[in-house]
Amino acid sequence: MSVRLEIETGRIAFRNPVLTASGTFGYGKEFESLTDLGALGGLVTKGISPKPRFGNSTPRICETASGMLNSIGLENVGVEGFERDKLPFLRACGTRVLVNFFGATFDEYIDCGARLDRLDGVDGLEMNVSCPNIKAGGIEFGTDPRVLRDLVRACREVIRKPLWIKLTPNTSDIVALARSCADAGADGLSIINTITGMAIDARTRKPKIATIFAGLSGPAIKPIALRMVYQVRRAGVPLPISGIGGIQDATDAIEFFLAGASTVQVGTQSFVDPDASGGIVRQLAERLTADGITDVRELIGALRVA
């Protein structure tokens, strides 16, 4: 019995629903010799800004219980560097390529999105809205439903490629944010980005990360991510969801499909095992075959709730 893993979602046709998450897979080439890129559903690049950026002060990462904190600072090569140095490899890597992007202002988001939209070999854009809006006192763009709607709408006007919005979990109402994206014409949602946390060294009495606050990722956040994916699905927000948060194996991926995700993104686990996403694709096919499921789409939103 063959299993169908192909899925068309968020205006992109994928070979299978397993993608790699932004910030954990570089620009793809770093993994060339460690996994079969062509076997992945897709990859999401490191976040790109209009100009190159170097990152935050050190230390930037630390391990926590079943997870890790990072405050890298969105270090990246910028749009021009991406087009010149990274895109030629990605064009030929044999999988779908989504480019994650961000800006410090509305204009930077629009500029960056419009320039990436013109690039051949980019199958879609994923917008990181977890950046502080300097003009609004540093509150994240993605935490105010009206600001988010206006930002997505402004970017939508200049972006013809598929546009997914990566939501921040640092909010009290994920559904309101998801609705804003739908209202503004987005094609998909990535749920969730990292959860803000901190770690302290009791001996030195210092924060373990230079910027004090940092993004928590890994298996520790999976229950929160599942809850948010399910909330958005249950509320009937009319956008497909890419589920992200602590996915380590095919069972984790299936849990996200059941909660309502139509694709998943593997993040921190790529640090633990560079072939993690490839392994999940293989496991997924085996698991579905063993369970007598012929099409992965049967699982999407199939949570049994009394």
């Binding site: 993994f31 930037r60 219980a65 890790m68 890298i72 600072g73 640090f271 633990v272």
Partner: protein, 235 residues
């Protein structure tokens, strides 16, 4: 990068220097128990399966016929220098190097018999004075630099960061080439997580995993952090 079948916690693999490599695909590491990961490694039974990604990164520069390399090791920073020593010994070139090896106490100095068997010129120091010269390994370094004054000398060093910076300052003050094998927190080991950044002269940041772990001390000594970029994001 090494990790056992530890489930979800601790999550990340641990970075180690190779103590020896070969024959075949075998390799040795030297581990000191400092946290949960190394504690689990210590308890691993013979035959236990470990995930290993490597070898990664660069190595110390090759020895030169006319130059004496002073290998300055602190505690568990011994492995990469031990490997340099073993390589030289195998080639019959131990006259090109001296091993300066320091620790807090005698128990912190390991593999001494093996290094004696290789006929490495050994200069030991302990802070407790139990073994070798009493004091820090930097004291022995100054003495050996005095001894070799006027001759071509390089310093290759690995150990705790305060020791490395002290070694690098001595090298800078005396105009001696110096290479440091650095250690940093890292999640991936392949230049992706960007966690193991260190400020450098050649670029705002270099990465211990992919640009190192061995750096020319002149590139990384006393470099202040670049100013934080605008619009700092959480991750």
């Amino acid at each position: 990068m090494i990790r056992g079948a530890w489930g979800r916690d601790p999550l990340l693999p641990r970075a180690f220097s190779l103590l020896s490599a070969g024959p075949g695909s075998s390799a040795e590491i030297l581990a000191k128990t400092v946290g949960r990961g190394t504690a689990l490694l210590e308890r691993a039974l013979p035959g236990a399966e470990l995930d290993v990604l490597g070898p990664l990164g660069n190595s110390f520069p090759e020895s030169r016929p006319d130059t004496v390399d002073l290998l300055v090791a602190g505690g568990v920073g011994l492995p990469p220098l031990y490997m340099v020593g073993a390589t030289s010994a195998a080639r019959g070139e131990v006259d090109r190097l001296e091993m300066l090896y320091g620790g807090r106490r005698a128990v912190d100095l390991v593999l001494l018999r093996e290094m004696e068997a290789m006929r490495l010129p050994l200069f030991l120091t302990t802070e407790s004075g139990e073994l070798g010269q009493a004091g820090l390994v930097t004291k022995a370094l100054e003495a050996r630099l005095d001894h070799h004054r006027g001759k071509p000398v390089r310093i290759l060093s690995c150990g705790p960061n305060p020791m490395l910076w002290a070694v690098a300052r001595i090298a800078r003050d005396r105009g001696v080439p110096c290479f440091l094998s650095l250690e940093e927190q890292m999640a991936c080991g392949i230049g992706v997580c960007l966690g193991c950044a260190i400020p450098a002269r050649s670029r705002p940041f270099r990465y211990v995993c992919s640009n190192g772990p061995v750096f020319d001390a002149a590139d990384v000594l006393d470099v202040s952090e670049p100013p934080a970029p605008p619009a700092v994001c959480a991750s």
